[in-house]
Symmetry: C2
Subunit: 362 residues, 2 copies
């Protein structure tokens, strides 16, 4: 498959998607990042056990001295203290400005590693080697890196681009089914915000996706990562168009915050968020009736959650007020106008949001 | 005095230097940063007590709602935990992407505030209001922001430009004499690396500078900040020319690290560092003999320290090995070739450095 380009001047990079890529990762990285003198793999315990030695070998074969830093993983560890501990380890290893960080793992590993790379010595190079569906279709692309604050997700971070994204879909074979499905939420989102063909294909091909067909997986990754690459190439720092990628995320992030980051996977929260936000769009008469139902069917068929737990509704409202995307108390949403198109609505009255959330009671 | 421009495309800003500027700061900021909805002053206890209320009033007069965050100050508090606590306060205040941070203080306040601005919500606007000599002549310009790591200074940071620098030299009247003199080291550096006229002027006018003549102070600030602005405009991220600004800093930073950041002021450490590095240049026959002595006389006349304490020499060597500017164990220095010109020497043998350091025994 031809690499997908993210065009950002001197920060441009490509996304390679290829079965078996992990085994010649070192050579691929050598080609994309010529200067590094050594590599440090940053990973979580689970992925480190599964793929650490293989990536280690692939990097050594390409002539890199390799070290590995492992942290506990999980959204609860995507924090400033864990980033700080990672920096301590880099200092202890004597990592310098020419050390390449290799983020081996899901979105959490990528976000934390990218954030560390962005602030260690005012910025050192890093590459993404995404191993979860969520990271392969979405999180590894676009250079949004961050850690969470107890009060809000991704509160502390940077825009900092990787030097390359190296995606091997075969690693998804070891991904727990729940994680695999959670990642599909971002593929549904991709269809909803800018690719009606992808959405229609998901409606037709959910069975293939759920059967882990290699062709279906490749299509999901390349379509979603490709759309995101195009959007981010036009608007790196989210001053305009890029905000559409946040569809489902205003409610989704708030749901994660309200439930302490451990009840819902990110993709699951986005699924719930998209359902709430599509119903909000219908309530505000921004889109024809039926859109929310059609989206709900795809999400449900793929096994994604839709219901927003009643007990946390008030906390969701609270968390949304702290969202980076709200300004001076007003709530900004990205809402669908049809399948494949969304628009930014900067000033949604809180009562309307509350009304839709409460609709979940029935 | 005409503002000095830092030309960096959409990250350009200007440096205003004017006696009494503090009292119309709000209006000046309004002109430079049109969007902010509110301002949060970040300062240390000492400066906050002296100038907090005045800056607060000046901002309110221009229509900004104003909050203030105060931390203990001092290099020992320029840390990731203090940055984290500042972020907690911003979250508690409900600061959003349109909140402007006002760094009111010396280099430490500017570095910490700028770093927080660079990572809070992936970057919010900030301005520098430098109140120390060091910050007015050097640290407030150029967008290098960072906190220290226990093992190395400025280890954790970003390149992140302020939206403006607002310098009122009259605030130096309350600056302790030791701080005033420490800041002059960066003015000497400025002369040594790129402005032989400034250096010669310092040789002639040390008495005026030490007498706190307003004209002499304005000349120091505008010459040093002007040179730095020009260098940073040509090389924002220190991929080339900008490295010359590190003259005196390889040894200087190591001395600070070796003495736990509390024995030497930054400028004092740079003074010692420049003396060591000028003698290193002579030892390596990179400059004619006499340069080090001429520099030593200016530094001594201004009351700056030169001697490197014998007890910490080994620790200085250790710290230099961890310096961001060293690569794979080699030591990189910026060394003078004549008054007003330096060059980068990437691969200085450790023994030569050690030899010069030990010269301090006599």
């Amino acid at each position: 498959m031809r690499p997908i380009q993210v065009d950002l001047g001197d920060r441009s990079y490509s996304i390679r998607i290829e079965s078996g890529l992990l085994d010649h990762l070192g050579a691929e990285i050598r080609r994309a990042v010529p200067q590094p003198s050594r590599a440090v793999i940053v990973t979580d315990r689970h992925v480190g056990r599964l793929y650490g030695p293989r990536v280690d070998r692939a990097l050594r074969r390409a002539g890199f001295p390799v070290d590995r830093i492992t942290f506990a993983g999980g959204e609860r560890n995507k924090t400033l203290p864990v980033a700080s501990a990672t920096i301590d380890r880099l200092v202890a290893l004597g990592a310098d400005r020419h050390t390449l960080l290799v983020a081996l793992g899901g979105g959490i590993v990528g976000d934390l590693t990218g954030f560390v790379a962005s602030i260690y010595m005012r910025g050192i190079p890093f590459v993404q080697v995404p191993t979860s569906m969520l990271a392969q279709v979405d999180a590894s692309v676009g250079g949004k890196v961050a850690v969470d604050h107890p009060r809000a997700k991704n509160m502390i971070g940077s825009f900092y681009q990787p030097r390359g994204v190296f995606t091997d879909p075969t690693v998804l074979r070891t991904l727990p089914e729940r994680e695999y499905i959670a990642g599909l939420a971002e593929v549904v989102k991709s269809g909803m915000i800018g690719n009606p063909d992808l959405f229609a294909w998901l409606e037709r091909s959910a069975a293939d996706v759920l059967a882990h067909s290699e062709a279906a997986i490749l299509h999901c990754i390349s379509a979603a990562a490709g759309l995101k690459a195009a959007v981010c190439s036009r608007d790196e720092r989210e001053t305009g168009e890029r905000v559409i990628l946040n569809y489902g995320h205003t409610v989704g992030h708030a749901l994660e915050t309200a439930t302490g980051y451990d009840r819902f996977r990110h993709g699951e929260a986005v699924s719930v968020g998209m359902d709430v936000e599509a119903r909000l769009a219908e309530r505000l008469k921004l889109c024809p009736p039926g859109i929310a139902e059609r989206q709900r069917r795809v999400l449900a068929t793929l096994g994604l959650p839709i219901r927003c737990p009643r007990a946390v509704q008030r906390r969701i409202m609270e968390a949304m007020k702290h969202d980076k995307k709200s300004r001076a108390g007003r709530m900004r949403f990205v809402l669908p106008v049809r399948i494949g198109e969304v628009k930014v609505v900067p000033d949604v009255p809180q009562e309307e949001v509350w009304g839709v959330l409460q609709g979940d009671r029935v």
